[in-house]
C-alpha cells in the first residue's frame, strides 16, 4: 500500500467533501434560479468558493498561538473600522455598511463576528479560574460585546448585531459564568422587549408585526413570508423537479437567490432536499462542536464553540425566517445564499476551527 504523504493526510478531506457537496447543491439551485443559466450567479459563486476554500486552508495551517496573540489587536482594529464606517456613513448622510476594497465590498461588521469570539476567548483563557464567578469576569465582556453591537445597530443592521451578540454570549456561557446570570439576563431581556421594540426602526417594527400576522398584508411587507411558505409548501415531499419551480422562475419569490434561496431550493427539491441540506449543516455544526470538545487549549475550546455558534446562528435564523418561524431579518444562509461577504465570514470561521483542530492534533492537552 502506498503510504500517504503527511501533507496530504493533513488536508481535512472529509470536511472539504461536506463543504463541496453543499456548494455543488447550491450551484444547481443558483443555476435553476437564473432560469437554467450558469450566469449571473452560479458561475461566480463557484469561483468565489474555490478562492475562499484556499483562504480557509491557509488560515487552518496557521498556528493557533497567532490568533490568540493578535485577538485583542484584531478586535480593536475591526472596532475602529466599524467606527470609521459609521462616521463616514453619517458624513455621507446615509447608512453605509461597506468598505470598498477594490475587488470586493467588505462589511467590517462581518469581521466583527469573528473578532468578538477571538477576543472573548482570549479574555476568558487568561482570566484566573477563581475569578470566573466574579464581576471581573462579566463587565469587560459586556463592554466588548456592547460597543460593536451598538455600532452595528446604528447602521442599522439588526441581524448582524444579534449575530455578534450571540457569538459573544455563547463564549461567556461556555467559559463557565454563573448560570443564573444568563437566566436573569434572559428574563430581564424579555421584560424589556417592549422598550427594545420601541427602539427599533419603523420598518423593523413592521417586519416583526407582519411576522406575527403575515396575512394582514399579503401583498406588502408580508409578501416575502407568504411567497416563501408557498414555495416550500408547494414543493411537497419530492419537489416540483429541477428547473420546474414556478414561484422562483416567475418572480413570485423575491430574493430567491439570496436570503430566500432555501425556498427556491425546497420548491424544486422538496422535503427530501430540505432535510438533506439540514443534515449537511448539522454535520458541519457537529464537527465544530466536537473540535471544541477535543480542543487542546482553553482558547481553542472557547474559540471553536463560539465560531460554531456564529455559523449555527446564520443557519437557524435564516431557515426560521423562510419557514415563517422568525421575522424577516436580512441574514443569508451560510454557503448557500449568493454573495461574498457572508461566505468569507463562514469560511474564515471554519478555517479558524480547523486551526483549533490541527492544534489539538499536534500538541498535548493543556489548560492555562
Amino acid at each position: 500500500m502506498i503510504p500517504v504523504p503527511p501533507a496530504i493526510q493533513r488536508i481535512p478531506w472529509k470536511l472539504i467533501a461536506l463543504l463541496g457537496s453543499i456548494i455543488t447543491f447550491d450551484l444547481l439551485v443558483l443555476y435553476s434560479a437564473a432560469g437554467g443559466n450558469w450566469s449571473p450567479w452560479a458561475w461566480q459563486q463557484g469561483v468565489r468558493f474555490l478562492v475562499f476554500l484556499g483562504i480557509m486552508l491557509g488560515i487552518s495551517r496557521m498556528p493557533l498561538r497567532i490568533f490568540e496573540d493578535f485577538s485583542y489587536l484584531g478586535y480593536l482594529g475591526v472596532l475602529l473600522l466599524l467606527l470609521a464606517v459609521e462616521l463616514l456613513g453619517f458624513v455621507g448622510g446615509g447608512s453605509q455598511r461597506w468598505l470598498n476594497l477594490g475587488f470586493m465590498n467588505l462589511q467590517p461588521s462581518e469581521l466583527m463576528k469573528v473578532a468578538i469570539v477571538l477576543a472573548l476567548a482570549r479574555f476568558y483563557a487568561q482570566l484566573p479560574p477563581g475569578n470566573t464567578r466574579t464581576f471581573t469576569a462579566l463587565w469587560p465582556a459586556l463592554v466588548a460585546i456592547g460597543l460593536p453591537a451598538a455600532l452595528v445597530m446604528l447602521q442599522p443592521d439588526l441581524g448582524t448585531a444579534l449575530a455578534i451578540s450571540i457569538g459573544g454570549v455563547v463564549v461567556m456561557f461556555v467559559a463557565g459564568l454563573p448560570f443564573w446570570w444568563f437566566g436573569s439576563a434572559a428574563g430581564a431581556g424579555a421584560a424589556a422587549l417592549p422598550v427594545l421594540f420601541s427602539m427599533l426602526h419603523d420598518y423593523q417594527q413592521k417586519r416583526i408585526l407582519i411576522f406575527l400576522d403575515p396575512e394582514s398584508d399579503p401583498l406588502g411587507a408580508g409578501y416575502h413570508i407568504s411567497q416563501s411558505k408557498i414555495a416550500i409548501g408547494s414543493g411537497g415531499i419530492g419537489g416540483k423537479g429541477f428547473l420546474n419551480g414556478s414561484q422562483s422562475h416567475l418572480d413570485y419569490l423575491p430574493e430567491g437567490h439570496t436570503d430566500f434561496i432555501f425556498a427556491t431550493m425546497a420548491e424544486e427539491w422538496g422535503l427530501i432536499g430540505g432535510i438533506g441540506l439540514l443534515f449537511a449543516f448539522f454535520l458541519l455544526i457537529r464537527w465544530g462542536t466536537r473540535v471544541a470538545l477535543r480542543a487542546r487549549t482553553r482558547f481553542g475550546q472557547l474559540t471553536a464553540a463560539g465560531l460554531t455558534m456564529t455559523i449555527f446562528f446564520y443557519i437557524a435564523i435564516n431557515l426560521s425566517m423562510v419557514m415563517g418561524l422568525a421575522p424577516v431579518v436580512g441574514i443569508p444562509l451560510p454557503l448557500f445564499s449568493y454573495g461574498g461577504s457572508s461566505m468569507l465570514t463562514i469560511m474564515t470561521c471554519i478555517g479558524i476551527i480547523l486551526a483549533v483542530e490541527n492544534d489539538s492534533k499536534t500538541g498535548s492537552r493543556r489548560f492555562h
Binding site: 411558505k229 408557498i230 416550500i232 413570485y252 432535510i275 470538545l293
Partner: protein, 635 residues
C-alpha cells in the same frame, strides 16, 4: 458538611464546566435542527395541498373569453343582428406600472384624442385591480399590429381579438332590435359575475337585445395563461372556447323592414305591417332612428347629443310610444259599432258641411250631400259620423274600439308601449270629475278630443277588421288564441267595403294610392289628425311642428286580406297626402319588389341618398355647426 458550599474553582472544574455547557449548547443546536426539520415537514406535507393551490393561483391567470352573442334573424333566417370580428385594446390596471409613459405611447400609436384620454384616466381611477379598462374598440388592422409590435414596452396593455355586435341594416332596425353596451357598475354589483367586467362583453340595453338577453348571451370561454409576478404572460396553458348564444327567430321580414324604413324617408313617422293570418309583425319601423352599430361600439358624446337635439326625436320608438289622435282612421271601426247597435248601413244622412249640435256647429271637411255608410267612409265624411255618435253616444262605440285593440297594451317582446286612451263617460268622470257630453262623443268618433292611440294599435285594428278575428301581434312564435270577433258579417263587410272604396272607389280619399299591380287591390282609410294647440295656420302648411299628422290604415288584397298596415307621418299634413303613398309602396314591395324599388330609388335620389348617407351628412353638418356657431345666431 455545614451547608452548601461551592466547589473550589480550578482549571479542572473549568474544563468539566466547559464540556457540560458545550454539550448543552450543542444539544440546543441539535434541538433547533430538529424543530426546523419538523417545521419543514409540516409545511410540505400537512399544508402541501393548500400551498400547491396557492402557487397554482399565483402562476395561472384565468381570462374569460366573452361569448359571441346569438344572432337575431328574420322569418327567412336573414340576420338582423350578427357579430363581426373586432380588434380591441384594453388596460389591466393592476399590471400598469408606468402609467404616464404607457398612456403617452398609446396616444401616439392609436391617435387618441383628448376626450378619449380623459375618459381612460377617469375609468382607470374608478377601476379596481384586474377590472380591465377599454382603450379603444374596433381599431384597424394596422393600429392593432403597431400595438402588438410595441407590446414589450407597454406592460399592462392587453390587445384582444373579439367580436362586436353588427346590425347589417343599421338604423332600419334601431328601435326594433335595440342595442347592446358594456354593463354598468350597478349591473356588475347586482350579479357579481366576472364576465361583466371582461372587456368586450356587452349586454342588451334596449329593445329585443335587452328582452332576449338571457337567450342571446351564451356561455363564456376561458383561457388559462401562465404569468410572472409582474403580469407578463409566459405561455398559454389551455383554452376552452365560448358557446355562442341562441338564435332568436323573429316574425319580421328583414327586406320589408329595411324597405319600410327607407320609404319613410326624411319624415318622422312609423309603419307597422302585420300578417293577418297569424298576427306576425312583418315590419316594425319608427323613423328617424339611431344606428345601433354606433351604440355597440360605445357611442360618442357628440353623436348622442346630435340624436337628442334632433326635433324628429330619433331616440323615441314612435311605433309603440308615439301617441296620436287617430283622426278618421277610426271611422271603419265606428261603422262596425254603429251596425252592431242597429243602424242600417244603407240608411242615408245628408252632409251640409257640418253637423249642428245644440248651438254648436261641428264642421266637415266638405259638403258631401246624401251618403250611406260605405260612402261616408269613402269620403271620410265627418257629418255622417257626428250623426252616428250623437245617436248612439260614445259609450256604445268605445267597447268596439277596445275590441279592435285600441287602448290595449299588447304582450309583445321587447316593447315598451304607451297605450293611449279610448275615452268613455266613466273614464272622463274618473279623470276630470265631469260628465260625458254629446260634443265629446262627436270629437271622439272622428278620432280627436280625448282619443289617442299608437301606430301598433292602428295596425292591429286594420288586421282585425281585415281578418274578422281578434288577432294579436307577435314578434316571435308565441301562441295566441286569435278568436273571431263578435261582429256580424254585415258589419265587417260594410267596414271593408268602405275601406275598399277609399282607395278604389270613385273619388275616394286615397284614390291616388292604388297599388300599381294587376289583380291586387288595397283597402284603407286615411286620417288627418289635428295637432293640439293649433292656432297658427290651418294645419296644412307653415311651421312643421304645427302641421297636421297624416295617418293611414289599410289591408291587401281586398278580397282575401293577407297584410294589414298602419302608417303615421308626423306633421305630414294629411293621410292621403303623406301616409297612404307610403303604405302603397310598402305593400307593393310585398308583391313586386322591382316596382317598389323603382319608386324608392326615385325618392331617395330626391332626398339625397340612403338613410346612412343622409345621417352621416347630417351629423357632419351638425358637428361643423357646433364647432363654428353661426355668428348671426349667437347674438
Amino acid at each position: 458538611m455545614f451547608g452548601k458550599k461551592s466547589p473550589p474553582i480550578t482549571e479542572a472544574w473549568r474544563g468539566i464546566t466547559f464540556t457540560r455547557r458545550a454539550i448543552v449548547v450543542g444539544g440546543a443546536q441539535a434541538a433547533l435542527f430538529g424543530t426546523l426539520a419538523a417545521r419543514m415537514a409540516y409545511i410540505s406535507i400537512i399544508d402541501n395541498e393548500r400551498y400547491v393551490l396557492e402557487s397554482e393561483s399565483n402562476r395561472v391567470n384565468l381570462t374569460l373569453i366573452p361569448p359571441r352573442r346569438g344572432w337575431i334573424v328574420d322569418r327567412q333566417g336573414k340576420a338582423l343582428a350578427n357579430n363581426r370580428v373586432s380588434l380591441r385594446v384594453d388596460i389591466i390596471p393592476d399590471r400598469l406600472h408606468n402609467k404616464d409613459l404607457v398612456l403617452g405611447q398609446l396616444k401616439t400609436l392609436l391617435r387618441l384624442d383628448g376626450d378619449t384620454m380623459e375618459r381612460i384616466e377617469r375609468d382607470l381611477k374608478a377601476a379596481s385591480g384586474f377590472q380591465p379598462v377599454a382603450v379603444a374598440e374596433d381599431v384597424t388592422e394596422q393600429d392593432y399590429a403597431s400595438v402588438l409590435v410595441h407590446l414589450p414596452e407597454l406592460p399592462g396593455i392587453a390587445p384582444q381579438r373579439g367580436f362586436a355586435r353588427n346590425y347589417p341594416t343599421g338604423a332600419a332596425v334601431g328601435h326594433l332590435i335595440g342595442y347592446v353596451g358594456a354593463p354598468t357598475a350597478e349591473e356588475y354589483e347586482k350579479v357579481k359575475d366576472p364576465l361583466y367586467i371582461t372587456p368586450g362583453y356587452k349586454t342588451g340595453k334596449d329593445g329585443l337585445e335587452k328582452y332576449f338577453q338571457d337567450m342571446l348571451r351564451g356561455k363564456p370561454g376561458a383561457k388559462r395563461v401562465e404569468v410572472t409576478a409582474r403580469g407578463k404572460v409566459v405561455r398559454e396553458l389551455s383554452t376552452q372556447p365560448d358557446t355562442q348564444g341562441k338564435t332568436v327567430h323573429l316574425t319580421i321580414d328583414a327586406d320589408l323592414q329595411d324597405y319600410a324604413a327607407r320609404r319613410l324617408g326624411p319624415e318622422s313617422g312609423a309603419a307597422v305591417v302585420i300578417d293577418t293570418l297569424t298576427g306576425d309583425i312583418l315590419a316594425f319601423v319608427s323613423m328617424p332612428s339611431f344606428d345601433p352599430n354606433s351604440f355597440s361600439d360605445g357611442i360618442s358624446n357628440s353623436e348622442y347629443s346630435w340624436l337628442r337635439a334632433d326635433d324628429h326625436q330619433p331616440l323615441i320608438n314612435k311605433a309603440t310610444r308615439g301617441l296620436y289622435p287617430p283622426g278618421s282612421t277610426l271611422k271603419p271601426m265606428a261603422a262596425i259599432a254603429a251596425i252592431e247597435h242597429g243602424i242600417d248601413p244603407s240608411e242615408r244622412h245628408t252632409c251640409i258641411g257640418g253637423y249642428r249640435l245644440g248651438n254648436r256647429f261641428f264642421r266637415c271637411l266638405g259638403t258631401h250631400g246624401s251618403l250611406d255608410m260605405p260612402h261616408a267612409i269613402m269620403k271620410s265624411c265627418n257629418s255622417y259620423f257626428y250623426w252616428v255618435a250623437d245617436r248612439l253616444g260614445y259609450d256604445a262605440i268605445a267597447p268596439t274600439a277596445r275590441l279592435m285593440g285600441l287602448g290595449e297594451e299588447f304582450q309583445l317582446a321587447g316593447s315598451n308601449q304607451r297605450f293611449g286612451t279610448i275615452p268613455d263617460s266613466a273614464w272622463k268622470m274618473k279623470k276630470y270629475g265631469q260628465p260625458w257630453s254629446a260634443s265629446d262623443s262627436l270629437n271622439a268618433v272622428i278620432g280627436q278630443g280625448y282619443v289617442s292611440v299608437n301606430p301598433l294599435q292602428l295596425a292591429v285594428m286594420a288586421s282585425r277588421i281585415a281578418s274578422g278575428r281578434r288577432l294579436y301581434p307577435r314578434l316571435v312564435n308565441r301562441q295566441f288564441k286569435n278568436d273571431p270577433l263578435p261582429f256580424s258579417a254585415e258589419a265587417l263587410g260594410t267596414a271593408r267595403l268602405g275601406m275598399d272604396l277609399v282607395v278604389n272607389g270613385p273619388g275616394g280619399t286615397a284614390g291616388r294610392s292604388r297599388l300599381p299591380l294587376d289583380g291586387i287591390t288595397m283597402a284603407g282609410k286615411t286620417g288627418t289628425a289635428q295637432v293640439r294647440g293649433l292656432n297658427t295656420g290651418n294645419g296644412k302648411g307653415g311651421t312643421w311642428k304645427f302641421r297636421d299628422h297624416g295617418l293611414f290604415i289599410g289591408f291587401a288584397p281586398v278580397g282575401d286580406p293577407r297584410y294589414a298596415i298602419s302608417v303615421i307621418i308626423e306633421h305630414g299634413m294629411g293621410g292621403s297626402r303623406a301616409a297612404a303613398p307610403v303604405a302603397k309602396d310598402i305593400l307593393t314591395f310585398l308583391y313586386d319588389r322591382e316596382k317598389a324599388m323603382e319608386a324608392l330609388d326615385a325618392f331617395e335620389t330626391g332626398w339625397g341618398g340612403t338613410i346612412k348617407e343622409r345621417m352621416d351628412r347630417n351629423y357632419a353638418a351638425w358637428k361643423a355647426g357646433i364647432a363654428a356657431p353661426d355668428p348671426g345666431l349667437a347674438q
